[in-house]
């Protein structure tokens, strides 16, 4: 499958040319953080909300992506009158370090003009958070009102709360966990191996060959996409319904196959394979307790942030029990915690979808925090 490389688009960004030290010990000579903002920063610079995106998300939270033309990935949650109300809060979202929407990553050029490609050093969730911190400081914000994110975004929220406890008032980790489970790593590894197995991958130097490992990346996306849904949701949406009648081997037989293939083929038009490898590694590596002597509570010791932990009942990728373990650790740290499990059959992806209970919870939690923080009076 020959596809052109990702469309080039101009992304709003800030460049830090003073070097950026990564957890792995490597120093990136320069760091670019691509980002978008919505709403207005108030005079006290106190109403800033950082939204952290998930594995394949980007900074275009509440507006169409210049790459795909599709509407923002969280328009139901972020916008005027939405739970994260841009009439009230100044919302920031940055493309993660290692991503492919304008922030420094494997697709970026090195100072000598060559692409990083597979030479791009491994990054961690904490590296991503440190890069966001640079952006937030650049925007003149000392303390964020809230940091919010789902899935890998939720991991970043936890890392924010742990690494910069005084730089946020509230933390909202959604459908997340303090570490990636063995099962989650296993699914990621299937995806990575699919990419490696694609002849067009060329050991990661596909750019030099004018190609992309579209098949491998599509299979990776298909495998991952299954983990974002629940069995109930798949049964409800597709069941065993056939695509075009009869038995076939090479075409799509069942509707669910067609759906997954569509997910795979659209994904490769907007995402870089090396970025996918880099970011899945960062997620797999994440283990907040391990960074604190295997004591998750120690990661939050003395925190004064207000937490709202949200899980979804049918999410088996980041199940409620992981959120509950997180809540218990926060309790051990005597943190102020709200915790809800939203009943839904939509699986992990529920955080991106129309879930009125979730949206009410988020809006109310933020409003309660804003009242206590004295914002928007």
């Amino acid at each position: 499958m020959d596809l052109p490389d990702l469309p080039e688009a101009e992304h709003q960004n800030v460049r830090f040319a003073d070097g950026f030290v990564l957890d792995c010990g490597t120093t990136l000579p320069e760091l670019t953080v691509a980002y978008r903002t919505y709403g207005t920063l108030d005079a006290a610079r106190a109403n800033a909300v950082l939204v952290c995106h998930a594995l394949t998300g980007d900074q275009y939270v509440a507006e169409p992506s210049p790459v795909t033309g599709k509407e923002g990935w969280w328009t139901q949650v972020v916008g005027p009158g939405r739970p994260v109300d841009t009439d009230r809060y100044f919302v920031i979202c940055a493309n993660v370090l290692g991503g492919c929407m304008g922030s420094t990553g494997p697709r970026s050029l090195r100072p000598d003009g060559s692409r990083w490609g597979t030479d791009f050093p491994p990054v961690t969730i904490r590296d991503m958070v440190r890069a966001q911190k640079r952006l937030v400081e650049h925007l003149g914000i000392e303390r964020l009102f809230a940091v919010i994110g789902g899935s890998m975004g939720g991991m970043q929220v936890l890392e924010w709360a742990s690494t910069y406890p005084d730089a946020l008032f509230a933390a909202v980790p959604i459908a997340a966990a303090s570490h990636h489970s063995a099962q989650n790593i296993a699914f990621h590894e299937v995806g990575r191996q699919a990419i490696f197995a694609d002849p067009e991958y060329h050991g990661g130097r596909y750019h030099e060959h004018g190609t992309i490992p579209a098949r491998g990346l599509a299979v990776a996306r298909m495998a991952a996409h299954i983990t974002y849904l629940s069995e109930e949701a798949l049964a409800r949406k597709f069941g065993r319904r056939l695509q075009n009648g009869g038995l076939s081997i090479f075409g799509d037989m069942f509707q669910v196959e067609s759906y997954l293939r569509h997910q795979g083929s659209t994904f490769v038009r907007r995402f870089d394979a090396n970025s996918y490898l880099t970011i899945t590694r960062a997620m797999d590596y994440f283990d907040l307790a391990a960074d604190h002597g295997d004591d998750l509570a120690a990661a939050f010791a003395g925190t004064r942030a207000r937490f709202c932990v949200v899980s979804f009942s049918s999410d088996w990728l980041f199940p409620t029990r992981e959120s509950r373990a997180l809540v218990r650790a926060l309790n051990r740290a005597a943190a102020n915690v709200s915790f809800v499990e939203i009943p839904t059959d939509k699986g992990h992806d529920a955080f991106l979808l129309d879930e009125p209970d979730f949206h009410r919870t988020l809006a109310g939690f933020l409003a309660g925090c804003a009242e206590r923080a004295g914002i928007g009076r």
Binding site: P319, R328, N336, V337, F339, T361, G368
Partner: protein, 217 residues
Amino acid sequence: MNEISRPTPEPIKFVAKNMRLDLRLIAEMIEPGSRVLDIGSGDGSLIETLFRTKGCDARGIEIDMAEVTRSVAHGLPVMHGDADHDLAEYPDGAFDFVVLSRTLQAVERPREVLRQMLRIGTRAIVSFPNFGHWLVRWQLLSTGRMPMTSVWSRAWYETPNIHPCTIRDFMALCEQDGYVIELWLAVDEAGQRSPWRRSPGLANVFGEQALFRLRKA
């Protein structure tokens, strides 16, 4: 996961006219600016009152997820959990007051719950329906069947109130476990404090609900 998918027992709910009084009496026992944990926070009205009128850092634990969602959506810090399973995680002395209203009779291990309350909090405030009330005694004596009153209104085979106790039972447990009763009162059906409130024996016959404030000796 298992413990949340368990069918959630419904503890006794007092009638509305008494509920407000019950919460008001509890709020009166709590000093302004305190750190408070309300176990079984229901619709969150106690923690909201404590935050708004007394400047308390009040948080809730509630077993009914719909109530949790409503509370958080109302801006109140409430987490899903229950008295039997979620208190052990808190550090010693994390709160000035830990409140358990109308729930003690429905928990799995009331003695352990009390112990945890007084470990994580300097003071515990506990209210429960008094099984020693004269009507309960009379029904058991006269009919030989488990009492069914406005408070004890569920049949024995389906009641979530698995650990009923009397005011005297509770006082005995406090003495046994070395808890100091700082304040106590019993109220009758109409929610009035009554002249017999200084006499445990009379309160145990005529008090429909009991309210205690405890600390460790």
